[in-house]
């Protein structure tokens, strides 16, 4: 790999680039899916290739290919140069990448059990066990479960002297029960509605105890069919940690991406209300709200050794005591603010350029127990497990729906509620946060399906959260 990488970089350097890098990526993903007592799919997908990114004067070019051969390295590098020259026809500002990046080293996701060492029989057996329990429940129409194992071998080198090799593992899985009656569809998932996924080995799935939760989700899905609808009102809202993880993703993670702030995602993902004048000068949330970007936290989907520009993993505050203090950055974007990249450039594969992406964006734990938080709530609802999500292109106006909720009356969790939705405006919502559960309730969730960029890139991000309470929230937007 080193020879191929050097060939591309030498080829580019000899033609006068200011900067070039190459990423060679080999990925394998194995999936097993079970539905209604049958195998829905078992599959193994592999992809391999390389991408060369070059900077000529102030214009970027990128070309990629699946053919890892010397001649193709030359063709693709030449093409990247031609593309950069074409970019110069519509030129922009001076590109400053800051100090050279010369990282060298190796990193492997710490895992206990290699997920590819587990046989397909064992994976299917685990899923069938949960599936059989779910299907016992009368009223369940669809029972499904899946497990995923992934491994990414990544080599990165640049013209500044960096050379990095990383092996990143991901493991995930989930089960779901869908109950149908008349015009009603209700679903319950475990551990999460998006696949529960982390940078981890097979031990991650064993801890998720899929079969041990199958009966509960089947019961809840059927019970939801006859549950009361979420009332329409303003009330106190306690978000379970998996729903809060997605709230963080959408309303903190995305608006702190500095490329959105600079308008370079305007035509697709959108922009951000957290404009540069607001850094260190804007109340994002209440004083107890502390949000951190951390690519060093165990099991997070945004955990790695270095980002795809060779910047080492780090921990960066985004919101401290409610004040907005930091962005997710690349080398180029950070330089525009006179800052240094905090290592958030990630590409979904060899055939995509790195973009500013979330790593693990987490809400720091508070000091409440969940029981105390509920006991302290006279009137409200407690909801969890995402079912729908939508937010505007500036990341201000959001509306979420969840699989399940419970009424809270006089400090006690009461009847089950279905079709729960809530809506708000990002800073108003976070300013209304008055209680966050403690470390015992804090879970690192994964969002494996975050989309951004053109051509599209889907990547996994991590979000640690414990349940939290928000006051005067509009719930039951659509009954």
């Amino acid at each position: 790999m080193k020879d191929l990488a050097s060939r591309a970089l030498n080829f580019a350097a000899m033609r006068g680039v200011r900067y070039a890098d190459i990423r060679i990526v080999e990925s394998r993903e194995q999936v097993a899916c079970v539905k209604n007592g049958n195998v829905d799919a078992v599959g193994d997908a592999q992809t391999e290739g390389f991408g060369v990114r070059v900077l000529i004067d102030n214009s970027w070019g990128f070309a990629s290919s699946a053919t890892l051969e010397a001649d193709e390295i030359d063709r693709v590098t030449e093409l990247a140069l031609a593309i950069a020259r074409a970019s110069a026809l519509v030129p922009g500002e001076r590109v400053d990448l800051g100090s050279p990046v010369t990282s060298n080293g190796k990193y492997t996701t710490p895992i206990e059990i290699d997920p590819f060492s587990i046989s397909m029989e064992e994976k299917l057996s685990l899923l069938f066990k949960a599936d059989e329990i779910i299907r016992r429940k009368k009223g369940v129409k669809v029972s499904e479960g899946n497990v995923l194992s992934a491994r990414h071998n990544k080599t990165f080198a640049n013209t500044e002297g960096a050379f990095l090799e990383q092996t990143l593992f991901e493991t995930g899985g989930s089960i779901a029960a869908t109950a149908v009656a008349d015009e009603e569809i209700q679903i319950r998932s475990h551990p999460n509605s998006f696949r529960y996924q982390g940078s981890a080995g097979w031990e991650y799935i064993r801890k998720a105890d899929l079969a041990g939760n199958a009966e509960r989700i089947a019961d809840e899905a059927v019970a939801l069919l006859s549950a009361e609808k979420c009332p329409s009102k303003e009330t106190s809202l306690i978000l379970g940690s998996s729903q809060l993880a997605l709230q963080i993703h959408e309303s903190c993670g995305h608006p702190t991406e500095l490329d959105r702030v600079f308008g370079t995602e305007a035509a697709y993902a959108g922009r951000s209300f957290l404009t540069v004048d607001k850094r260190n000068n804007f109340r994002y949330g209440s004083e107890i709200v502390n949000l951190t970007a951390e690519s060093v936290r165990a099991t997070g989907l945004g955990t790695f050794g270095w980002d795809d520009e060779g910047i080492p993993a780090s921990s960066t505050p985004l919101v401290r005591n409610g004040e907005f203090v930091g962005y997710l950055m690349s080398r180029e974007a950070a330089s525009k603010l006179g800052l240094v990249s905090n290592g958030c450039m990630r590409a979904s594969s060899w055939n995509r350029i790195p973009l500013i992406r979330m790593t693990n964006i987490s809400l720091e734990a508070g000091d409440w127990t969940l029981d105390d938080m509920i006991a302290d709530t006279d009137d409200g609802i407690f909801i969890d497990t995402n079912r729908s999500w939508s937010i505007d292109d500036m990341r201000l106006n959001f509306q979420f729906g969840t699989e399940i909720g419970w009424e809270i009356k006089n400090g006690k969790r009461g009847r089950m509620l279905k079709n729960c939705t809530y809506a708000g405006i990002t800073p108003d919502f976070w300013k209304s946060c008055d209680a966050i559960a403690n470390r015992d309730h804090w879970i690192m969730w994964g969002t494996p399906n975050c989309g951004k960029g053109e051509p599209g890139q889907t990547i996994g991000t991590g979000h640690g959260a414990a349940p939290a309470r928000f006051r005067n929230v509009k719930v039951g937007v659509f009954r």
């Binding site: 999936v31 195998v39 829905d40 799919a41 078992v42 599959g43 193994d44 997908a45 592999q46 992809t47 391999e48 290739g49 214009s59 070019g61 990128f62 070309a63 990629s64 290919s65 699946a66 031609a82 593309i83 020259r85 074409a86 970019s87 026809l89 519509v90 922009g92 500002e93 046989s119 397909m120 299917l124 669809v142 015009e183 009603e184 569809i185 600079f262 308008g263 305007a266 035509a267 697709y268 959108g270 209300f273 055939n351 350029i353 729908s388 939508s390 937010i391 505007d392 292109d393 500036m394 201000l396 106006n397 509306q399 079709n419 405006i425 053109e454 051509p455 599209g456 937007v477 659509f478």
Partner: protein, 442 residues
């Protein structure tokens, strides 16, 4: 390596009772711009190969991008080994037998050979027009050529080449934006000047938007918003899989008048005015499927698995073999039958209402009724007494899309072709009598 050679190697190497190979070659380039400059400019050459190995009713799927002989043989071994490990799926009907597939002309050499310089020059038109208007342009121009091939051990063999060009742009002022998009088989069919002009005009008339009270209003939807309605209805219920699992908005409504009589929605992979592909990813010929005919719910689309379950014939809507993305069959070439109105007619006929450019971040709230929430984006304007009165800030809606199409009052006469990932839409603007807005943004 040509598709025939790949197919021969895979089918010869496979010890399975039945084997299928699906190949997609792709040379895809995209020039992206923002702040009136090109900031990302990329190209990719790849081949994606999917193999399904079948032993009785056991199925294994392997995907890869190594088209060398040893890579293909490894892919076959992986699929076969997975099939051996997989329990039987009693519903699996076996791989299909050959059916005649018509040939189409969906490939344009000039589009396939479009250079980075050519794309940059076209994008430069948008950036210069935005700059001249004192606005900021962002967007992308994409050119793609693809080779598609499907073969199986029952004798299915289908292949074709396609090309596609697509431009999207959002032009932004200080507090406003305008959007335009056009897709085509041939890059020379894209009118870059008019795309730029449309987005600039929208951004200009959208300047200084004011707050607007959520509520129920008549709406005139540009074709971009119409496309979103069809996209969400497709994902939420035009597949036989969601229909058979009783999750679809079509379920329980076949034969019923669910939309206005003026509404006919069909999927037609052979219509040359779209981005045609004559066969699906099982190599079955695409059939035109009327999903809604004159407002009456007619049928979802099928692949062989769901057709077997439903005791009907496949309509040629199978998706590529993949264990991780299991959507079931999907309509990829959707058409909304045009009417006789222009957008100006629709606005003139509206006493009070909203004119909306497009919808954004739409997600299902209740799939059975296709209740969707999302935001308006890149231009929302109040209509008063038949004229655009003033721009307003983006609004959130929570609305059943089936109900919305029940309230269609006028349909545009001019369809616009729009590509979006899996789907292409050929749809006009429409006027809807009632649409429910549930929030607003700042």
């Amino acid at each position: 390596m040509k598709f025939k050679e790949i197919a021969d190697i895979v089918l010869k190497a496979s010890p399975a009772e039945q084997t299928e190979v699906v190949v997609n070659y792709q040379d895809a380039s995209l020039t992206r711009f923002a702040n009136n400059t090109i900031h990302q400019n990329v190209t990719e050459r790849n081949v994606q190969i999917g193999v399904r190995a079948v032993i009785g009713k056991r199925v294994g799927i392997a995907n890869g991008n190594d088209a060398r002989q040893e890579g293909l043989e490894q892919l076959v071994r992986t699929a076969y080994d997975l099939a051996k490990l997989s329990p039987e799926n009693p519903e699996f009907p076996g791989l299909p037998s050959p059916k005649p597939v018509i040939s189409i002309n969906a490939f344009d050499q000039r589009t396939a050979e479009c250079s980075p310089r050519d794309r940059a020059e076209r994008v430069g038109v948008v950036c210069r027009k935005a700059h001249s208007a004192g606005l900021m342009g962002a967007g992308s121009m994409r050119t793609v050529w693809s080779g598609w091939g499907v073969a199986n051990s029952n004798g299915v063999f289908a292949e074709c080449r396609t090309s596609m060009a697509d431009i999207t742009t959002v032009i932004m002022g200080e507090n406003s934006s305008g959007w335009a998009q056009q897709s085509a088989n041939r890059i020379d069919d894209i009118d870059i000047e008019s795309i730029a002009d449309e987005a600039v005009r929208k951004a200009r008339i959208g300047a200084n938007p004011v707050d607007y009270q959520p509520g129920e209003y008549s709406v005139v939807l540009d074709s971009y918003a119409t496309a979103n309605i069809l996209a969400m209805l497709a994902l939420d219920g035009m597949s036989a899989m969601s229909f058979q699992e009783e999750r679809s908005w079509l379920y329980g409504r076949i034969g019923q008048q669910v939309m206005a009589e003026s509404v006919t929605i069909a999927d037609d992979g052979l219509d040359a005015s779209g981005l045609p592909l004559p066969f699906d990813f099982e190599g079955m010929p695409k059939k035109r499927v009327a999903i809604v005919d004159r407002g009456v719910a007619e049928s979802p689309v099928y692949d062989t698995l769901t057709a077997g379950r439903g005791k009907v014939e496949t309509t040629g809507h199978a998706m590529p073999p993949s264990a991780s993305e299991r959507y079931g069959p999907l309509p990829m070439n959707l058409f909304l039958k045009t009417g006789a109105s222009s957008v100006d007619d629709m606005i003139r006929s509206t006493k009070t209402g909203l004119y909306i450019t497009r919808f954004w971040y739409t997600r299902p709230v209740h799939p059975r009724d296709a209740v969707i929430t999302g935001m308006t984006r890149d231009g929302t304007y109040v209509i008063r007494d038949g004229e655009i009165a003033y721009p307003v800030k983006s609004l959130r809606f929570t609305q059943s899309y089936v109900e919305a199409l029940k309230n269609v009052e006028l349909i545009g006469s001019t369809p616009r072709l729009q590509w979006e990932e899996f789907f292409t839409f050929s749809v006009p603007a429409i006027k809807i009598g009632q649409f429910r807005f549930t929030g607003s943004t700042r």
